[in-house]
Each structure stands twice: as C-alpha cells, then as structure tokens.
C-alpha cells in the first residue's frame, strides 16, 4: 500500500530525467548550429530580466510561424474547388483562350500605314519619305517629326568623334556596367552630364524610356508617398505605379492644388513614420509643352520637406540660355532638384537615358536599379556622341548670352508659335497648347469646335470606359471609336502636308496604357537648322491643310470619316 505513492515520484523523476536529458541534447544540438550559442545567451539574458517577455516572445514566434504556414496555403489553396481528374480534363478541353493580342481591327489599320517610312537619315531636317502604297519616294521633305532639336545627330564633330570611337571600341559594349561593361567613355559622359547640369554625379541607362521606371522604384517602396503632376508622360505614370507607394495626383501645373494636398497630408505625415516623400513633375511636359513654376515648386517642396523628381527629357538642350534645362531658365540651382532624369536621345543627338543628382542617390542606383544592373551598357560611341554634344554646348557658352547652338532653336520655336497663335484663318479651328519657348508645338482642335462636333473633352483617364475595360480585361473594348476617328482626321491633315513636302506628326498614344486623359494633337518639332522662310512655308502648308480639313467640318463629316474607316 505504501509502495505506490513511493513509486509514482520515482516514475516522475525518471521521466523528468529523460526529459532533461533530451532538453540538454537539444540544447547541445542547437549550440552546434552556427550562431546558436548567441541566440541561447540572448534568451537566457532576456529571461532573467523579464520572464514575461520570454512568454510574449514565444507567443509572437508561434503567431509568426502560423502566419508563414498560412501564407503558403494562401487564399488560392482555400478556395480551390475539388475536382475529379475527369472534370479537370473536361475543363481543360473546354478552355478557349483569347488570342495573344487582339488582331488589328479593320478601322485601325490606317494607324499602321500612317507611320512615316523614312529613307536614309531619320533625324535630319530634310528627309526622304516613301509612300507606303505606291512606293514613291519624295525627297527633301521638311522634317518636323524629329526630336533632334539641335541637329546634333548630323553635327560633323559629333559624327567624327562617334566614328573614332567605333574605330576604337566597336559598336556594342557587350556587357553590363558592373561586369566589364563600363568603358572610359561611359565614365566621361557621366562626368560631363553631371558637370553640365550642375549636379554631383550622373548615371546612364541604355534607353530613355526605361529610365524613370527603373530610377523611381529604387527610392520608392510600399508606404512611401509620391505626389505626381496629373499631366506627366506615360513613363512617369508607370514609374509611380510600379513603385507601389501611395500615389496622389495634383492637377496639371496647379501648384495651389499641390499645396492643398500637402496641407491635408501634413498631419498624417507628422505622426507617421518618416517615409520617403517625392513630388514628380516634368521640366517641359511631353503632353502639353509647358513647364511648372519651378521657383514656387521648389519653395513648396522645401517647406514640406519633400524631394523633387524632375524629368528633363524634353527640356535639357532646349530650355535655359545654355540648354541646362528648366532650372537654368528659372535661375534655380540644380541642388534644389534631388533627382533629375533625362534623355540623350533628343537634343543631345545620341541615345540612352540618364539620371543626375547627389552621390548617395546615384550610388544606390548602381547597386539596385534594375535597368542599370541587368542590362548591357550603352554602346560606347553613343556615350561619346552625347559627351561631344555637351562639350560643343559648353565651349560656345558666353556669359549673359544665349548659346549660339540654342539661339536659332529658341527663335524658331517662338516664331512658329507666333505664326500659329496670330493666325486669323485658324483662330476658330485650333488652339496652341504649348508655351512659346517650347520647341514642340502642340496644336489641338478648338474646344468649341470639338464640342460642336460631338467630341469629348478627353479620352481615357480615370473612370473612362477604356480603363474599366482594362480593369476587367476586355481587350475588345480597348478601342474608342471617336478617338480613332479624331486621330484619323488629324492624320488627313498630316497626309496633305506630306504631299507638300512637310512632315509633321501627331500624338501617338496607347490609350489603354495611359492613366490620364488624352487629347489628340498635331505635333510640330522645331529645329535649330530651320530657316525663317522654311518655317513660314511650314506654317502656310499646315494652315491650308487645317482649313481644308476643318474649315467647314460638321458632325456629319465626322460620322462620314468613321464610316470610311469601316470600309
């Protein structure tokens, strides 16, 4: 009778001994794992100080483990439908995917034919254009479709240096910059860009269009804030979107609206963590040909401690007395602009994109900017071409004067704008959207005329049928018939001009990718090499075509155009 109570403790004691042994074996094993001793010490120390904390941490660990396991068997797993093998086979046999892309509709085909076919140099001021149907070649066409504003692409010095570099290093760079793909000339062009624009350092990319989508995500992650001008180009829209940060839009160039947004945000921001904050805008808007009030913008961003991203794709080489972009034009130091993005493929007459700013910012891109790390360097000769253009601009600069390379461009831009602005015959037909200093003339139909023709204020954008179709994945609804027709009528103007040996162009947009509303425009790119007489001629030709197309256009005519497209 008295043996039993004695035996139980013995049993418990031996169990405890076994458990303790096991525990020690476990601990020992754990100690063998690299770093295990450290962890154990940590637990021991923390337990001594605060036993409750150990419990709490164990609970936390359990929750974390549960969370990890749960995320593996995510939503998908849970709402999966149980199917037999036969049902799966049937479903597979029934599945009919959509074609990989929607084939071009009959009424869209004209878009394909409207791409100008150029023979020989594309960027020069006089080009030969081939007719897509007859194959006829029309020589010596005045080219207002090229963004080579300073004609650097055909500059003899630029060409000569580029050729020298091809003779020294071949064409391709054959490797990413971090793996033996950085040539001396790449380093040089980064220095040149930084010096020319007045920044600490620079970095270059293989293509201008890829630059914003690669730069912004380096500095913007979930939880960061970016406030974007509601008129930026597609590349910046995408860059803001892909960064997954909180995006706010302010009305195009409306700094009051920007301040209002910042004012509203201020309280939240003061309490929240110090996340990264940016304002994104353009030096010369791709979509409008105007610029923000940089002075005020800089004051605002300094006041609210936001950083500024300025896309100078269109403004470097075209604005400011020496082509140093909007800050030079506004008398503001480059230091005020934390991130500057730009293109070497436009006024600099080369190829590729760049970003300049402070050393820390550039250094981070070298390590983590996708389009820099995972892509081959720019061909060395392109770097040389851009460097040469910069040197030409710098070498001819004179204190207090407009750079001789820019002066003709500035004058031409102003002249062409004035011709259209002062035009009597066009007064009721079109409006000039761009500012006089813009080398790109944006001409859109007069809003009253558009209204009378039954055309909407803009196409696409938030809440539009196209963006709804995108959300739902209805590719057959990506098409806007009125947009198509309006663009087609503008193309008629372009075609008529081309018959008279003037090549102008229009906005070409991928409507379903644009997040912001779009209005079709005729686009004329100025060039430093045009003479006044040539520009007068261009104006005359465009005026005639506009008048003959829109002079007495009615709603019925628009319908007629639409039906022409369908036949």
């Amino acid at each position: 009778m008295d043996t039993e109570p004695r035996e139980t403790p013995q049993f418990i004691a031996s169990l405890a001994a076994i458990l303790a042994e096991l525990w020690y074996a476990l601990l020992e094993l754990f100690l063998k794992v690299p770093g295990g001793a450290l962890v154990l010490d940590y637990i021991r120390a923390s337990h001594k100080n605060d036993p409750w904390r150990t419990l709490l941490e164990i609970l936390l660990a359990l929750v974390a483990i549960r969370y990890f396991l749960a995320s593996k068997y995510s939503q998908d797993e849970k709402d999966k439908v149980e199917l037999s093998e036969r049902e799966v086979d049937e479903l597979i046999a029934d599945w009919e995917p959509e074609p990989i892309v929607p084939p071009l509709r009959r009424d869209e085909r004209w878009q394909l034919d409207s791409i100008p076919l150029i023979n020989g140099a594309v960027a020069s001021v006089h080009v030969s254009v081939e007719d897509p149907k007859s194959g006829e070649i029309s020589d010596n066409v005045l080219n207002l479709a090229s963004k080579d504003y300073l004609s650097m692409s055909s500059n003899e010095v630029v060409k000569e240096n580029s050729i020298k570099e091809i003779r020294a290093a071949g064409v391709g760079a054959c490797g990413p910059p971090n793996f033996y793909g950085t040539q001396d000339v790449h380093v040089r062009v980064c220095e040149d860009l930084a010096r020319f624009l007045g920044a600490e350092e620079g970095i270059i990319y293989g293509q201008d269009y890829c630059t914003p989508t690669s730069v912004l995500p380096c500095f913007l992650k979930r939880g960061d804030i970016v406030i974007v001008d509601g008129g930026v180009s597609l590349a910046l829209q995408k860059a803001a979107l892909i960064s997954r940060s909180d995006v706010e839009w302010f009305n195009h160039n409306d700094l009051d609206h920007l301040e209002e947004i910042l004012e509203n945000l201020e309280e939240d921001l003061a309490d929240g963590p110090l996340n990264r904050r940016f304002i994104v805008t353009e030096g010369l808007f791709e979509n409008f040909g105007d610029s923000p009030d940089l002075k005020r913008l800089v004051e605002i961003k300094n006041h609210y401690k936001f950083r500024l991203v300025l896309d100078e794709t269109n403004s470097v080489g075209t604005l400011g007395p020496n082509g140093r972009g909007l800050p030079e034009a506004c008398g503001i130091s480059r230091d005020e602009i934390e991130i500057t993005i730009g293109s070497m493929a436009q006024a600099l007459g080369s190829s590729g994109g760049y970003c300049v700013g402070c050393e820390d910012m550039i250094y981070h891109q070298i390590l983590s900017s996708n389009a820099y790390v995972f892509s081959a360097s720019l061909p060395p000769y392109c770097a040389v071409a851009a460097s040469t253009s910069i040197h030409l601009l710098e070498d001819s600069q004179e204190e207090g004067k407009i750079n001789p390379y820019l002066r003709p461009l500035v004058e031409n831009s102003k002249h062409l704008h004035q011709l259209f602005r002062d035009s009597k015959p066009l007064r009721n037909l079109v409006v000039v959207r761009s500012a006089d200093y813009s080398p790109v003339v944006h001409i859109r139909l007069n809003p009253d005329l558009r209204k009378s023709l039954g055309l909407p204020e803009g196409y696409g954008g938030p809440g539009s049928s196209i963006l709804n179709a995108v959300k739902k994945g209805h590719e057959d609804l990506y098409f806007d018939s009125l947009y198509n027709t309006e663009s087609y009528i503008l193309q008629q103007v372009i075609d008529q001009c081309l018959k008279k040996k003037v090549l102008i162009t229009r906005t070409k947009r991928v409507l379903h990718q644009e997040l912001l509303p779009v209005v079709p425009e005729l686009i004329l790119h100025c060039n430093a090499k045009f003479t006044k007489a040539e520009l007068d001629h261009v104006y005359k030709v465009v005026e005639q075509s506009l008048v003959s197309t829109f002079g007495d256009i009615t709603k019925e005519d628009v319908a007629k155009y639409t039906s022409v497209l369908n036949n």
Binding site: S146, D184, T213, S375
Partner: protein, 573 residues
C-alpha cells in the same frame, strides 16, 4: 601587352578614371587581339542536338558537406560582422551613413537593410566589379589598373591598363571588333544617317534601315516579322504590358531574367512560378490553373502565357523546348521564349534554341531576344506572326514613347546577321559558329576533367564554374586577373546563396590555345583555392563508370590538354 606599363609612379595615382591611351599598333595586330585567327581546321565543331534522344537536363554535381557548411558559416560571419559594424558605425561614424540616416527632417535615401548586402558583402569585393575598360571587348579586353586604400570605397588609377584574355563579355560570335566589314558598315551608317534615331519609331519614322533589319532578323529566326528596340531590358520590361492584363496568367520559370520579371509585374497579370526547367511542375500548374480559373471568381483565364528563356545565363542550361512546346500545344497556352543568350550562339546556323532542337519557330508564339550578346550591337527584338507584330507595332509603348535604335547599332545588327547567314564574307559566319561550338565544348569538358564542378549543357557558351564559398569569389577573380584573364563572378542574390560561381562567357574570338591557357590557369587557381570538388557524376571521368566507384575525375593538366580537344567533339558522357 600593357599600355604604359612600367610607368607605375605612385604620385600619379588619381581617383580620376583615366581615358583610353592611344593605340597605334598596326591594324593586323589589333585585329588579332580582337579576334584570334583560327589555328587549325581541327578546332571546329557543330552544335547539334540528337533529336532521337529525349532532352536530359544536365546533371548538377553537389559539393561535399563541409563546403556547404563552410559557405553558410562564411555568410554568417559576414552578416554578423556587417550588422555589428552597421550598429556601431551609425553611432560613431554617421558621416559614412549619410544616405541611410534622416537629416534635417528628410527621410534617408534608402533604408540600411535595403542596402545591407551590397554594403557589407559586395563592397568587400567591389574591386572585382565595374572595373573600367577601354577599347574593344573582344578576345582581349584592356582593363585599367587600380588600387584601393579604403576597402573599395574609392579607387585610385595610375593611367595604365592591362590587356586580359576576355571571358567576361557577351561576345559569343566575336563581333565586337573595330576592324572588318561590320565596323566599316557601321561607320558608314553614322556618316550617312547621323548618330541618333530622332525619336520614337511611330512618331519620327520607320527608317529603311530599321525596316530592312527587322525583315532580315525575322527571316533569320523563322518568323513573319519583327520589332527591334534599342534596349533588350526595355523590350522585356514593356512587352508584357502590351499583351496582358490582370485577367491573364503568366507561368514563369523561377530563373527568368529580371527584365521579364519586371515586365510581368508592370503588366499586372497574375504570376505563377515553376521550378527551373521542371516540366512536371509546369504541367501540374497548367492543369490546375485552367481547371480552377482565376482566383476567387473561378472565371477562366483570358490568356495563359508560359515564359521561359532559351539559354539561362547564370546556369548555362537550355530550356526543355520540346516539352515546353508540347505542353503549350496540349493546353492551348501561349509560349514566350527569351533568346537573349541563345540567338546566334546555338544551332548549326546560329538561329537559336528552335534550330538547335529542330523545332519549327512557328510553334513558339513570341520569340524575344537581345542583340547585345551575339551581334556585338545592342538592343532587343520581338519576332512573331505578322498579325501579332502589326498589333504590337502600333500598340507597343516603346514604339510611341521611347527612342528607336540608332543607325550604327542597326547597321551592326544588319551586317552581322548577313555574315552569320552566309550572305556576306563567304564562310566567315560558319567559322564563327563552329568556333564557338568547339570552344564551349572544349572549355567545359576540360574544366570537368580537371575536377571542377561546372553547370550547364555541353554546347552552351556560358560556363559557370562553382566556387561556393563567398570568400573564394573575389580571391579567384583577383587571381585570374593577375594571370591576365578577365572573368565575371556571380553570387547571391543573382544565384542561390550557396552556389557562388565564376562565369566564363566563351567567345568565337578565342583560339584553342587561349582555351589551353585558361585551363592551365584554372588548374592553378583550383589547386590553390581548393575548388576541385567534382564527383564525376556530371561527366569528366577517366573511364566510364568511374564515379559510381567513387573515383573522381582529377586529370592532370597535361592529360587534359592532350586528349580533350579531340574528345570534346564527341558525345562522351
């Protein structure tokens, strides 16, 4: 040769990256440095796939346990020390952490954890990365000499450079040249057409040179038409948005290139990832995705796109194209193949992965590739049926918003394509193709026989040689450089944590004797650094069946050099 060697004057060290010295050697000498003459007709091979055998994934040899443990330990120490240095550094020397600390109410540029790896691990071997070069990255590449006094924070240059045998550049067919037909044509293109393309293709115009090159390229890969863009990365980054939406599914290989992953993310499509080259997993995902439909709603997917690469640039492995094609046909999905590294480098006529496997290009829906690697140019392309290209030509955002490829680059592509195709310069194209096939096979087999663990398929011109321990990466790279060979090292995060490697990119510009030299140097490096862990299971044994008996291939250098050049042309293992 070294430029200005012997100058070595410490007072002339400067942080300024020097400019290229003038090179006034005669043209023949330069030509030989860029593209070595074939030394014997014996050193040619043809890369062909035996369609009768089914595709076998290459065997990946495993390192011994102690290597694995040492590697993890290595990382552990690096990470611990890194954190300790960060912790105390931010406290005591904040001037070194300006970008990671908030200042005057401005948030840091980036968080310290975002940059932990590059600062604390990569920075230790930064001397192996981004070394500036000058001149043609051909058979040899001229690397600037530099030193660092502050643990790779800054480098000092003395203006001299050393010409190293080049196994680092993507120059598969050796078209990186400053003499010859390609260069002459490209120079003429600059003279005639200038340096810039003037703007986006759809806006500024579709140049005759671009049209012509697109047609030649399309014909070369076996498609109706193609689009050429000025950057390969950009091609992938913006392609997927043009064809997919959020109701579409992409099934993507786990090792796909960052550009494709970025592009898919931008498109908003759903993504499922299958383990690298695992066709069983792919089929399982296909069956499940089609039968289950979209998440939550269970509506059928609008499109399913399988996304793979022709030749994986970190592994040197092909995709299993026969299986991919048959799966995509069985399940009516679409297939996208990124031929960045396979176009020009694989197949009897260099037409890429389809030709190599003898599969008609019409069975791949979208063929993407880059023009950076085999053609000595730059850029990327999409080739497909006419109706697809017609749609993309007006709807591809790069065509409307981004720059078109510049003239000299297009001309380089155009001329090199015609050389490969035999339309120009007679048999030159054929010789280049046969040389890259031979060089790849020879180097790979040679390394295996010496005892290295090497990944990849026999014909692949990318040869990753495993070193495992992170500390051995920079050590090996420096040693190769000391012996005059430029190699690329890749480690985490571009590869799995454990499998750091040296990547040899073979070129047709190398001669058989160059490969001999690389083998000899690798042999020294391998012995010094204890890199020979090959078990023989992936080939390289002396006698068939050796590895099963536990005999590892450890041929002496003499044996390798004596027998491998002949052996490598046969199917041995």
């Amino acid at each position: 040769m070294s430029f200005n060697a012997g100058k070595f004057n410490p007072s002339e060290w400067s942080a300024h990256v020097p400019s290229a010295p003038t090179d006034d050697r005669p043209e023949e000498v330069k030509a030989e440095m860029e593209f070595g003459k074939l030394t014997s007709q014996k050193w040619l091979a043809t890369a062909k796939y035996d369609a009768k055998k089914s595709f076998k994934a290459p065997i990946a040899d495993d390192p011994p346990y102690f290597v694995v443990i040492m590697t993890y330990l290595n990382y552990l120490v690096l990470i611990l020390i890194g954190h300790i240095r960060d912790y105390f550094g931010m406290f005591f020397t904040p001037q070194h952490f300006t970008a990671m600390l908030s200042k005057n109410g401005y948030p840091p540029w980036y968080a310290s954890f975002e940059s932990f790896y590059p600062r604390r691990l990569k920075a230790r071997m930064d001397d192996c990365f981004a070394r500036p070069i000058h001149g043609v990255p051909g058979r040899y590449t001229a690397c600037f000499n530099r030193i660092s006094h502050d643990y790779n924070k800054h480098f000092l240059y003395d203006g001299t450079s050393t010409e190293c045998l080049n196994l680092s550049s993507y120059n598969y067919l050796g078209f990186a040249q400053s003499v010859g037909k390609c260069t002459d044509d490209s120079v003429a293109a600059v003279e005639e057409r200038g340096t810039s393309a003037g703007g986006p293709t759809d806006v500024s115009g579709h140049a005759d040179l671009l049209r012509n090159t697109e047609k030649i390229l399309a014909k070369f890969v076996g498609k109706d038409d193609s689009l050429i863009f000025s950057m390969g990365y950009g091609t992938n980054a913006h392609f997927f948005t043009s064809v997919l939406n959020s109701k579409c599914l992409v099934i993507s290989d786990s090792l796909n290139h960052s550009s494709a992953r970025f592009g898919i993310r931008l498109s908003g499509a759903a993504v499922k990832v299958f383990p690298h080259n695992d066709m069983v997993a792919l089929e399982r995902i296909l069956r499940e995705s089609i039968s289950q439909g979209q998440a939550k709603t269970h509506r059928p997917w609008k499109k399913i796109l399988i996304c793979s690469e022709g030749l994986y640039s970190m592994e040197g492995e092909y995709c299993d194209l026969p299986a991919l094609v048959s799966l995509k046909e069985k399940y009516h999905a679409s297939l996208f193949i990124d031929e960045a590294h396979s176009i020009g480098a694989l197949g009897e006529h260099g037409r890429g992965i389809c030709e190599y496997f003898g599969i008609s290009a019409s069975r791949v829906d979208i063929m993407m590739g880059t023009l950076t690697k085999s053609f000595g140019a730059a850029g990327g392309y999409i080739a497909a049926d006419q109706w697809i290209i017609d749609r993309l030509r007006v709807d591809f955002s790069t065509n409307c918003y981004g720059e078109a490829p510049p003239p000299a680059v297009l001309q380089q592509i155009n001329t090199s394509l015609r050389i490969i195709d035999g339309q120009l310069n007679g048999d030159e194209g054929k010789e280049r193709l046969q040389r890259i096939a031979f060089n790849s096979r020879y180097l790979r087999l040679g390394l295996k026989r010496l005892g290295f663990i090497v990944y990849g398929n026999d014909d692949a011109p990318v040869i990753p040689m495993l070193v495992y321990t992170p500390a051995k990466m920079p050590a090996a790279s420096r040693m190769f450089l000391k012996y005059g060979v430029a190699v690329v090292i890749v480690g985490y995060p571009a590869t799995p944590l454990i499998s750091s490697r040296i990547r040899f990119c073979v070129s047709a510009a190398l001669t058989k004797e160059d490969i001999d030299r690389i083998l000899a140097i690798s042999n020294i490096v391998g012995d010094k650094m204890c890199l020979k862990f090959g078990s023989g299971m992936a080939g390289g044994e002396k006698h068939p069946g050796d590895w099963k008996k536990g005999i590892h291939p450890r041929w002496s250098l003499e044996e390798v050099l004596a027998k491998t050049p002949e052996d490598c042309r046969k199917e041995m293992y």
